[in-house]
């Protein structure tokens, strides 16, 4: 079951149809929001597992992995979907191990296990058991976690946000919005820096101020000037990478660089489903371009003659981040690799 080689059997038609619908929904923007995408992915995988003709672990792993490959190929920028595939794969592997009476507490292809478990590893696995029932339990658990992740993060708001603190955030993010609302009586003062989508930032500012949070909407250019006064930077991200780096909305790097320069702590809200075992080397993500109309309207005559570079996301190095807040609590960037190895099987880092 090496991740790199090995031909996967093709999926049946119905599964492909489901995948295509899922992919189309995301591409056309019918499905938006990281949490919704995560839930949709898990539901899709559950469907595929339920429909699987063969219930052996190997078959299920291959089916889920084939699905994952199709999804990642079609949506290379939706890291969350790939993460969910890895989580489900992990669930299947855990079940399989439990069946083979191996300790599942310790995952990974360690030398020790390699040597000790060598005979059973090479032997064919008992495939008569229907793994689907326990896997479905795992998936239900996962769905529960996804559902609860926002509230779990917001539950920690009071620990991090104190009365009269000046908080800075960048762009609009549902999670940050809820997080700030959850600070309850510790009403902070908020500086909301406009992201690439000005209207969304403005809408978020309106919603927050109607909730009694004092919000000031500022332009991105003002970040450097305001940063010395800020007590804390709280941001939501697209994805958290292995090693504690972060992929965020375009323009985020400027904010975190300013924060680092003035030694303002940067708190990143990242539910576990956003943790991705990807390294900072994958240029498809850093070079990815957003549609150019985010930068310039097609109206202008120049649009046909110029090349517009509107980056989709910014890469923020780990040393810019002070703290990650996940469902499980706060953790430092250097601890992310540990969380990753708990969440995913190293075999699945590359789908």
């Amino acid at each position: 079951m090496s991740p790199l080689e090995g031909n996967l059997q093709d999926l049946d038609e119905k599964s492909i149809e489901n995948i295509v619908k899922f992919v189309s929904d995301i591409r056309t923007g019918k499905l938006q929001g990281s949490n919704k995408i995560a839930v949709a992915t898990v539901t899709l995988l559950e469907q595929i597992i339920t429909d699987a003709s063969n219930t052996s672990a190997l078959f299920l792993v291959n089916a889920v992995r084939a699905t994952g490959r199709r999804i990642t190929k079609a949506l290379p920028h939706e890291l969350i979907a790939a993460n969910m595939v890895r989580r489900v794969l992990r669930a299947i592997r855990d079940e399989q191990r439990a069946l083979a009476n191996q300790s599942s507490e310790y995952s990974g292809d360690s030398l020790q296990r390699l040597v000790l478990a060598a005979p059973s590893r090479r032997a064919t696995l008992p495939s008569h058991h229907d793994l689907r029932e326990p896997i479905r339990d795992h998936i239900a658990e996962l769905l529960g976690e996804l559902e609860a992740s926002t509230s779990a993060i917001c539950g920690q708001a009071k620990e991090h946000i104190h009365t009269d603190e000046l908080i800075l955030t960048y762009g609009s993010s549902n999670l940050v919005e809820k997080f700030l609302k959850a600070s309850g009586t510790n009403k902070p003062k908020l500086l909301l820096v406009e992201g690439p989508q000005h209207s969304e930032s403005a809408a978020m500012a309106t919603r927050l101020s109607s909730q009694g949070v004092s919000v000031t909407l500022v332009n991105g250019a003002a970040v450097g000037a305001l940063m010395p006064r800020v007590n804390k930077v709280v941001i939501g991200v697209r994805s958290t990478l292995a090693g504690g780096a972060v992929l965020g909305e375009a323009g985020l790097l400027a904010v975190t660089t300013a924060a680092r320069h003035y030694s303002v702590p940067v708190v990143v809200l990242s539910p576990l489903y956003k943790l991705s075992p990807l390294h900072s080397c994958d240029h498809t993500h850093f070079n990815a371009l957003a549609p150019p109309y985010t930068a310039m309207p097609y109206m202008s005559g120049e649009s046909a003659l110029t090349q517009v570079y509107a980056p989709m996301c910014d890469f923020v190095p780990p040393d810019h981040v002070t703290l990650f807040i996940t469902n499980l609590g706060g953790s430092s960037p250097s601890y992310i690799y540990r969380l990753l190895s708990e969440l995913y099987d190293p075999n699945d880092y590359q789908i």
């Binding site: 790199l4 030398l111 060598a118 292995a242 240029h283 250097s334």
Partner: protein, 293 residues
């Protein structure tokens, strides 16, 4: 069993199999020792192996990889000592495990090369130090994947092993330039990434590698160039050096230099690359996580 015999086997493997690294050769030697020198008890076997390891440490080869490889081997094949009844059975299991272990190690380089593929992007410039089989394998893999890149290789005195690396790269059709060791700082601003191998990984997260690596890494850190260390996981060593002086002397000098007693003035062969830079990258390439905790 004679010390010389073991050394003979070890050096023969190194001579005959061009592509094999010192660590793997050491493990192969140990396997041969188990097979060839029949003993009756586990204790004897243990003593034999330890003797063999000691013999190999005095072969005028870099010791770091030998010691970490052998340590690993000893640790894992000897796990079986207590839970099996007869000694013959025990020996058989040890041999079997040893072979599995060796096979996995031999696969490791290819795996590392494949894993490092995404790190070499099309059109990038890479700086490498000395000659490393893993780095070479990774670059060959990248060429196979139609990637276009340019490599700068340091001469890496005193043994100028960079020359050989350069030759091999050029033979593979890679655009490679040989540079002086002292030109590392000059060239650093042009390169996109630094990619090096390692002789050993310390528990502190640093690496032990050919002399000059520390300088290279500091220069890279100053100019904020990412440093990637490609290494197989049998190179993880159980040492925790606090500074350059703290590295065991036999890691730093060839045994012949130590024997002559002249290491006070001689340039150390290997240096420590302290963990300050990109030490998460070390874990990236480890396939077996055993040593981490």
């Amino acid at each position: 069993m004679k010390k010389e015999e073991v050394q003979e086997i070890f050096l023969k493997i190194l001579r005959e199999e061009e592509d094999v690294s010192v660590g793997v050769a050491a493990i192969k030697t140990l396997l041969t020792v188990i097979e060839n020198y029949k003993v009756a008890t586990v204790r004897e076997l243990d003593l034999n192996l330890q003797l063999a390891v000691d013999a190999m440490r005095h072969c005028d080869q870099p010791v770091t990889a030998i010691s970490s490889g052998c340590e690993l081997f000893m640790r894992f094949i000897t796990f079986a000592k207590l839970d099996v009844k007869s000694f013959e059975e025990c020996e058989q299991i040890m041999l079997q495990r040893g072979r599995i272990f060796l096979d996995t190690l031999l696969e490791a380089r290819g795996k590392v090369a494949k894993q490092s593929l995404p790190f070499i992007s099309d059109g990038c410039k890479i700086l490498t130090h000395s000659r490393s089989r893993v780095v070479l394998a990774a670059m060959l893999e990248a060429v196979k994947a139609n990637k276009r890149f340019q490599v700068f290789v340091t001469y890496s005195s005193p043994d100028n092993s960079g020359k050989r690396m350069h030759k091999e790269l050029v033979a593979a059709g890679i655009e490679a330039t040989l540079i002086l060791d002292s030109a590392v700082g000059y060239i650093m601003e042009q390169v996109d990434i630094v990619m090096i191998g390692a002789e050993g990984i310390t528990e502190s997260g640093g690496i032990i590698n050919k002399i000059g690596t520390y300088c290279l890494a500091m220069s890279a850190s100053e100019l904020k160039r990412p440093v990637y260390v490609l290494t197989e996981s049998f190179k993880f060593s159980r040492i925790y050096p606090l500074n350059q002086q703290d590295i065991p002397i036999e890691f730093k000098y060839l045994s012949s230099v130590i024997a002559s007693g002249g290491f006070g003035e001689a340039t150390p062969f290997s240096g420590l690359y302290t963990p300050c830079i990109h030490y998460s990258t070390l874990y990236r390439f480890g396939h077996f996580d055993t040593f981490r905790r």
